[in-house]
């Protein structure tokens, strides 16, 4: 690898070794504390779009707690046992999208989503009992988060019919998707914007529908705004496009060669 000089923050994150992940998890937490409070400044004017009671950027006390902890991949693998019944041992989920693919998701995203599901902010009755504070401790959430970030599922993810990919690409690139979720669908760890590349088509469609209807509970106001005018066809097109983006870690490595 000869790209060290031009390595961006994200590429550096891709190259992080398993050991360095622990430190990175902590740093992401610190960065998020900063990043989110900045985001909170703009939250007022954006709060009119869907999910009205939710303030993006306002950290829950438990989130502050978890972000300060150092995750451990091995412990996370064991703690993930309680999640495997649905998300499977490789964290690849179900290809029909009933259960999302979690492998390679940013630790920050996992922490944000799990803590908000169990706080009842993200509405998810299926998962709620298994993410309750009885089921996983704050330390286990931190451990699971770094474990998931390190995993690579080898199974194919679920993809759409492949008929609307031109529309999907155009919506993704020219719309506001790429500005937050990245050109390679790599998301943005520091802001807890999720990886969307290689996610199951069925899951992407379902979550976008929930976001449109204001039923997801913890959407970023910009996200709600970005897809507010999408037709069902638009959602299918952009979901299909994202489901066909390769694993962002591979995509970024290839691109940097």
């Amino acid at each position: 690898m000869t790209h060290h000089i031009t390595t961006t923050l994200l590429r550096a994150r891709v190259a992080i070794s398993a050991v360095a992940h622990r430190l990175a998890g902590f740093l992401v937490g610190v960065c998020m504390l900063a990043g989110w409070s900045v985001a909170a400044l703009a939250a007022d004017q954006l709060a009119v779009f869907g999910d009205k009671r939710y303030e993006w950027g306002k950290l829950l006390p438990e989130q502050v707690e978890v972000f300060r902890l150092t995750g451990d991949i091995e412990r996370g693998k064991e703690a993930f046992r309680g999640c495997r019944g649905c998300h499977k041992a490789d964290a690849g989920g179900l290809s029909d999208g009933t259960y999302p693919r979690l492998s390679g998701q940013h630790a920050s995203v996992v922490i944000k989503q799990v803590t908000e599901v169990r706080a009842g902010i993200r509405v998810n009755p299926k998962m709620e009992p298994f993410s309750s504070d009885h089921a996983v401790s704050p330390q286990e959430i931190a451990d699971i988060a770094v474990f998931l970030e390190s995993v690579q599922s080898t199974r194919d993810n679920g993809k759409g019919p492949g008929t609307l990919l031109t529309l999907g690409k155009s919506l993704y690139d020219k719309g506001q998707c790429a500005s937050c979720h990245g050109e390679a669908g790599e998301g943005k760890a520091i802001r807890a914007y999720p990886v969307v590349a290689s996610q199951h088509y069925g899951y992407l469609v379902r979550e976008m529908e929930l976001i449109q209807k204001g039923l997801r509970g913890n959407s970023h106001p910009k996200m709600v705004k970005a897809i507010a005018h999408y037709t069902a066809r638009d959602i299918e097109a952009v979901a299909d496009y994202m489901s066909r983006m390769p694993d962002y870690r591979l995509a970024l490595q290839t691109r940097s060669r």
Partner: protein
């Protein structure tokens, strides 16, 4: 012979050697110590018999509906015993037994049963095996039932956190799952089994129990 005894003998050997150097007083103290170790590490026969009359000395129950204890994780065993004593897990029979046992007994009994050879797999109802296996390995997607294998492992041997299931009595499993479903059993540490059982029909519970009894538990 249990490993405790081996350990006990090694200890007593060392201690006996040491006592030779310090004379009679040392010997007396050593003998006292040996006696205490022996008392601490063996189960009084009458206490083992309390369990064995229903669960078998080897932890393989011959009574339908009474669970096998052989191979069960000590962490799970002790927690259940504590819950019976506190009344958190309800069973008139088990609660009556508790009056003769203390914490030390719980630990000794747990180790005794953990070390027994796990039960031989049963036949199971052939009509339900396929469905039961599917639920155990894959869960039920439509009703968001997680796969049993996620926590209890693919071979049903469980972990320190989740108990062994492989080869367990189906009548017992069904009864417990129905108790979780109704809330009559509510000592599941993490409320997880109640959430799972509430999402399952009685037919699904029966099917998975019929599969579990056929599991050998390969890792053991």
């Amino acid at each position: 012979m249990s490993p405790q005894w081996v350990t006990g003998n090694r200890w007593s050997g060392c201690l006996a050697g040491f006592s030779g150097l310090v004379g009679q007083l040392g010997l007396a103290l050593t003998l006292l110590l040996i006696a205490q170790i022996a008392r601490a590490q063996t189960i009084a026969p009458e206490k083992l018999q309390l369990c064995a009359s229903c669960h078998g000395v080897d932890g393989r129950s011959a009574v339908p509906g009474t669970p096998h204890l052989a191979g069960l994780q000590t962490s799970y065993f002790v927690r259940q015993m504590e819950d019976f004593r506190k009344g958190r897990r309800k069973s008139p029979v088990m609660q009556a037994v508790m009056t003769g046992l203390d914490d030390k007994d719980f630990a000794l009994l747990a180790t005794h049963f953990r070390e027994q050879k796990p039960p031989e797999p049963g036949k199971g109802d052939p009509a339900m095996l396929r469905k039961g296996k599917d639920i155990f390995m894959e869960g039920i997607v439509a009703s968001a039932v997680p796969a049993c294998s996620g926590c209890h492992k693919e071979d049903g041997t469980g972990t320190n956190r989740y108990p062994r299931l492989a080869g367990q009595q189906p009548q017992y499993l069904v009864e417990q799952m129905l108790n979780y479903k109704s809330g009559a059993r509510d000592n599941d540490d993490r409320s997880l089994m109640r959430a799972v059982a509430q999402r399952m029909t009685e037919a699904e519970i029966r099917a998975v129990a019929e599969f579990i009894v056929t599991m050998k538990g390969d890792e053991e």
